[in-house]
């Protein structure tokens, strides 16, 4: 076989390997999820959704877990959305090109790479002990807010920088102040991109387990939380708790709870992708 033929063959061979590599991960994930649905589907029922946790696997439900997850989502949004968008606006519209801006940028890129469990340690000392929040929803959502802040900031900056200069300059030329321009022109135009980023960030927060365990979320909560200062559990922690039990029935519970968690995660990502596509189509500057 001559050299040229060999090269062509290698080329074709790599194409096959490429297709294999591209789909092997997704196929495995599909198999895994199929397995989860297979063992967990029958356990899903209205009772499972509205029952409190129990030592008897068959009577245990995820009421406290999903209400906790909803609370965490709501509080985390309230805390992280204004701070993250505010920081994004500052970096994109106000900051000058100096050492401080440079430091902010290195810092945000660094924070995005800090393991989530480290945020848990930060939350444990600052929110739980120093600010005396205890193992409350507020402490948990404050911790998760810091965790997802870099994602929101980066998304905000990208969305703002995609707004054309001409729009801002037109507004300024008409006599609007800097903030009026941002509030009435830049932010509305960038909102699609910002919301996409926020939803993606929140979907990450919903799946987080380790930082909340470190902050002191409980694995067994016999009541649904009524205020941000209440103790709580969330779906991923409930799943973790059931996975670590030796009895087969709890494994089935865990699979059923995973189905719910995956539905929430995929739905949020779906909404984010839908928003991104719609926003990209609508804004044809």
């Amino acid at each position: 076989m001559n050299n040229e033929k060999k090269n062509r063959l290698n080329d074709k061979l790599f194409q096959g390997i490429g297709i294999f590599a591209t789909f092997i991960g997704l196929i495995l994930l599909a198999v895994f999820i199929g397995f989860i649905i297979y063992i967990g589907w029958d356990r899903l029922s209205w009772d499972f959704m509205v029952s409190l946790p129990s030592r008897l696997a068959k009577r245990a439900g995820i009421l406290t877990a999903w209400t906790g997850t909803l609370w965490i989502m709501a509080l985390t949004t309230l805390i992280s959305f204004p701070i993250g968008v505010g920081a994004g606006i500052y970096l994109e519209e106000y900051s000058e090109n100096n050492w401080f801006t440079n430091l902010l940028e290195i810092n945000i890129s660094n924070l995005a790479g800090v393991p989530s469990v480290i945020y848990g340690l930060l939350g444990l000392v600052i929110f739980v002990r120093v600010m005396k929040m205890g193992g409350s929803l507020l402490a948990g959502s404050s911790t998760l807010s810091l965790l997802i802040l870099p994602i929101i900031i980066v998304a905000t900056r990208e969305a703002i920088s995609a707004v054309p200069r001409t729009v801002k300059e037109a507004s300024l030329a008409l006599g609007a102040s800097k903030w009026q321009t941002i509030w009435h022109q830049t932010l509305p135009a960038a909102m699609g991109g910002i919301l996409t980023g926020v939803i993606l960030a929140l979907s990450r927060a919903v799946g987080e387990t380790a930082p909340l365990i470190v902050v002191g979320a409980l694995t067994y909560v016999p009541f649904t939380p009524k205020s941000p200062m209440d103790q709580f559990t969330v779906l991923p922690i409930q799943i973790f708790n059931w996975v670590t039990r030796p009895q087969q029935e709890f494994i089935i519970n865990a699979a059923a709870a995973i189905i719910i968690l995956l539905i929430i995660t995929f739905a949020m990502n779906g909404i984010a992708i839908y928003l991104r596509n719609r926003w990209q189509q609508r804004v044809g500057w």
Partner: protein, 291 residues
Amino acid sequence: MKWNEKIIEKLLGFCALITILTTVGIILVLLIQAVSFFQEVSIVDFLTGTQWTPLFAEKHFGILPLLSGTILTTFIAIAVAIPLGLTIAVFLNEYAHHKFRQIVKPMLEILAVVPTVVYGFFALMIVTPFLKTFIPHLSGFNALSPGLVMGIMIIPFVSSLSEDALNAVPNSLRKASYGMGSTRLQTAFRVTVPAASSGIIISVILAFSRAIGETMIVTIAAGQQPNLTFDPTVPIETITAYIVQVSMGDAPHGTIAYKTIFAAGITLFVFTFILNNISYWIREKYQQKYE
């Protein structure tokens, strides 16, 4: 400028400042607790000890077993993610139709979206029993299975960033290579991959950082038993899993067990901090800008 405009600027600046405060907070919290830990345990014992038993009656505080567990699972994950991720990046960039790429790239992101506790379930309930059919002596908890699953999870980190880097290589280089009679494979590995090397290296470093910090998969499926070993078939414990293990047991504030999670935490933070900074530095310094 009106006074309210100035207040708004200050408020927005404060929002940005919170990110700095977060970093300062992390470093201070870890340092203060770790210093208090090292007043009770010598730093030499910590760094060279081969036993980690802070929760037992006879306490040993050698971080090496946790470190070996972390390194072991990390390298298994990397051994999966780097070859697959790079192959995907080259394939999507050089071979695939751009419409195919547009559809497949977001699909791959799904792998990174699934919560890690779910991957932990996969590793423990599906992958370990499956591997047992080939490796009969594989323990129910081991480093191999969570490592492999973690590798699948971080594929998109490698493939996505690497593909972006390959995509930034100007087409003229590619065309020149084809003009010389190269195949797509030769073009990819002799022209575009070397040209995009800084971006690819960044993606590899970030994958390492991600694997080192990954917590729930290893907590669930690796066994929570600190063992100084590089045998992937026996139970081990990573730094991250240890922090979760102690947190589950609610170690009282001020006890040595409580302080150990910060000593473990600062070790973890140092590793990821160095890796993250190297990647940032490469991006600033070597990222070639093609006009």
